[in-house]
Structures are given as structure tokens and as C-alpha cells.
């Protein structure tokens, strides 16, 4: 199974995982690496290496989900990029992680990454647009 590693600033990664498990139950081959301000780049890189090794040990590849393009978690992750073996998606959201946990069983790493990139973007909604398309003016006045 494709492994998933969530890497973020502060404790977001741990919390993303906790939120996903609250919805799906315990997840296999998923790890989190939370990079706090007191952690050196070397230690963070080490933790990420261990996480990638752990969730990717069966050879199906690893997808790293990071919080923000341009941030340290993404920059460190980029060192692990390897076609067909380690892929990265930035801008993690909960739909991305939940879909990834479920969709990875019958896809290869490239397919999964492509799917999640679109899925996570489309999962961003603006409720007032739903109202407008239902014939309201963007608000509800009872």
C-alpha cells in the first residue's frame, strides 16, 4: 500500500492525522511529522526520513502531504522526491488526506497524486455560492 506522510509547521501534522482517524478510524501506513520552531532542519529531515522509510517499506511508494509550498516542511520534503517512489503534494486539507487514505489501495503513486491534487482543490467550497445557485442572494433571511 502507498504510504502517506503528513509534514507541517507546528503540530498541524499530528492533528490532521488525528482528525482523519476520528472520521475513518485507525489508519495503516500513515505517519505525521510536525516541525516545531525549536527543531533543527537536520532533526526534521531525519524524522521525515524515518517516516518515509516506515510507511513506504513495502515498496509501493510514499506520498508526502505538506502544509504550504515555500515553507520549510515542503523544502525538506523536496529532498526526498524520487519519481515513482516519493511524491509530494502541498497545501494539505482534510479532504485530501481522507480521500488519499481511501483511494490509495487501487492506484499507483502517480495516479494517486494526480487525483488528490484535483480532488483537494475541488473540495474547497463557498457556501454562499450554494445559496446563490439555489436561488437565494447569498444569504438567508427568515
Amino acid at each position: 500500500m502507498i504510504g502517506i506522510v503528513v509534514v507541517t509547521h507546528a503540530d498541524l501534522a499530528d492533528e490532521f492525522l488525528q482528525a482523519a482517524e476520528l472520521i475513518l478510524g485507525p489508519l495503516n501506513a500513515v505517519a505525521s511529522v510536525s516541525i516545531n520552531y525549536e527543531v533543527s532542519v537536520d532533526i526534521a529531515r531525519n524524522a521525515l526520513q524515518q517516516a518515509v522509510n516506515k510507511v513506504g517499506k513495502d515498496g509501493d511508494g510514499t506520498l508526502i502531504l505538506t502544509d504550504m509550498f515555500g515553507g520549510t516542511p515542503t523544502n525538506i520534503s523536496a529532498e526526498f522526491l524520487q519519481e515513482g517512489v516519493v511524491e509530494i503534494l502541498t497545501g494539505i486539507n482534510l479532504p485530501m488526506l481522507i480521500k488519499g487514505a481511501g483511494a490509495r489501495v487501487n492506484k499507483n503513486l502517480d495516479e494517486l497524486t494526480a487525483l488528490l491534487k484535483d480532488y483537494a482543490k475541488n473540495a474547497i467550497m463557498r457556501p454562499s455560492e450554494l445559496l446563490r445557485s439555489a436561488g437565494y442572494n447569498g444569504t438567508l433571511e427568515n
Binding site: 476520528l22 472520521i23 475513518l24 478510524g25 485507525p26 482534510l94 481522507i98 481511501g102 467550497m125 457556501p127 450554494l130 445559496l131 439555489a134 437565494y136 438567508l140
Partner: protein
């Protein structure tokens, strides 16, 4: 129609239902029976929009849900039925929407209710309603998500609070 899950969940359609229960019971239709949500246009629209388009979703009052489930409209559907409260569940049952099993998911409350599990807070009136359904032959169990173990509802009640026994 196959009723694949009847559940009390005060959050109605939400992450646990969509991401865990729907695939677990292979539902292709979600019916919500709750008067309050039926009158809340924004919440209704948001819940409808959160459900993948291959799944039919019907959100209505308890009375509307009874009529719908007992019509031929949902023939061949695998229906996941959601109640918001124990009262919804009893009113539906007494109104002719018959289910044999009832899942207790989320019933959180702040005060005035006793916490019987991580996600279930019930007051004596809730217990009376569940008792009524139990007496009618409904098998009631607590299970928040499929990955959780299933527990008979009576096992949740501390001995001190059990009545008539």
C-alpha cells in the same frame, strides 16, 4: 429498498457518515428524518452539496421521511437513514417507518444529560425512548464509526442509573 443502516446522529450528514459509513454499508441513498434540519435551508443545502452525486440524498421532516421510505420511490436503493434525536427515531418508528436495528452514533450535549460513552449523552427521556424501541424489538447498539466496536446500548448504562431492574 434495503435499509442498510438506521442511525441516530445529531450531526446528521457529516464526515463520519460520508467517509466511513456510506462505503461500509455501501449505501446509495441517504435519508435524513429531522424536522429542524428540514426547516434550515442553508444547512440543508450544505449537506446536500457534501454528498457525492451518485448518492441520492433526501432531507425532510420525520413525517416526510416516513412517507418517502414507505413509498416505491426508493425501490432498489440501499438506504442509510439518519435521525437527529431519539425522539425522531421513536416518532418515525411509531409512524410506520420500521427498522430492526438502530445505531447510536453522536448525541453530544453540554448539560443535563449523562455521558454514557465518548459521543453519547442521554437523559432519562432518551433512555425511555430507547427502552420503548427495545421493547418493540429493535436491536440498539452504540458504534460511532465502523472501526469502533459495537456495544449493546444497555451495557452503556451504569447500574446505578438502570431502572426497574
Amino acid at each position: 429498498m434495503a435499509l442498510v443502516l438506521a442511525r441516530i446522529d445529531n450531526r446528521l450528514i457529516h464526515g463520519q457518515v460520508l467517509e466511513s459509513w456510506v462505503p461500509f454499508v455501501r449505501a446509495d441513498c441517504i435519508v435524513v428524518a429531522n424536522d429542524e434540519i428540514a426547516g434550515n435551508q442553508l444547512q440543508k443545502l450544505m449537506m446536500q452539496a457534501s454528498v457525492p452525486s451518485r448518492i441520492r440524498v433526501e432531507i425532510g421532516t420525520v413525517a416526510e421521511a416516513i412517507a418517502l421510505v414507505n413509498s416505491t420511490q426508493l425501490d432498489h436503493r440501499r438506504v442509510l437513514l439518519l435521525f437527529g434525536t431519539t425522539s425522531d427515531a421513536v416518532r418515525a418508528y411509531q409512524g410506520g417507518l420500521i427498522y430492526n436495528r438502530l445505531n447510536l452514533g453522536n448525541l453530544q450535549a453540554n448539560k443535563g444529560k449523562a455521558r454514557l460513552s465518548c459521543t453519547l449523552f442521554l437523559d432519562p427521556a432518551d433512555l425511555d425512548r430507547l427502552e420503548l424501541l427495545d421493547q418493540a424489538g429493535v436491536k440498539i447498539t452504540a458504534r460511532c464509526i465502523p472501526a469502533d466496536g459495537e456495544r449493546p446500548w444497555r451495557k452503556l448504562i451504569p447500574a446505578s442509573r438502570r431502572r426497574g431492574k
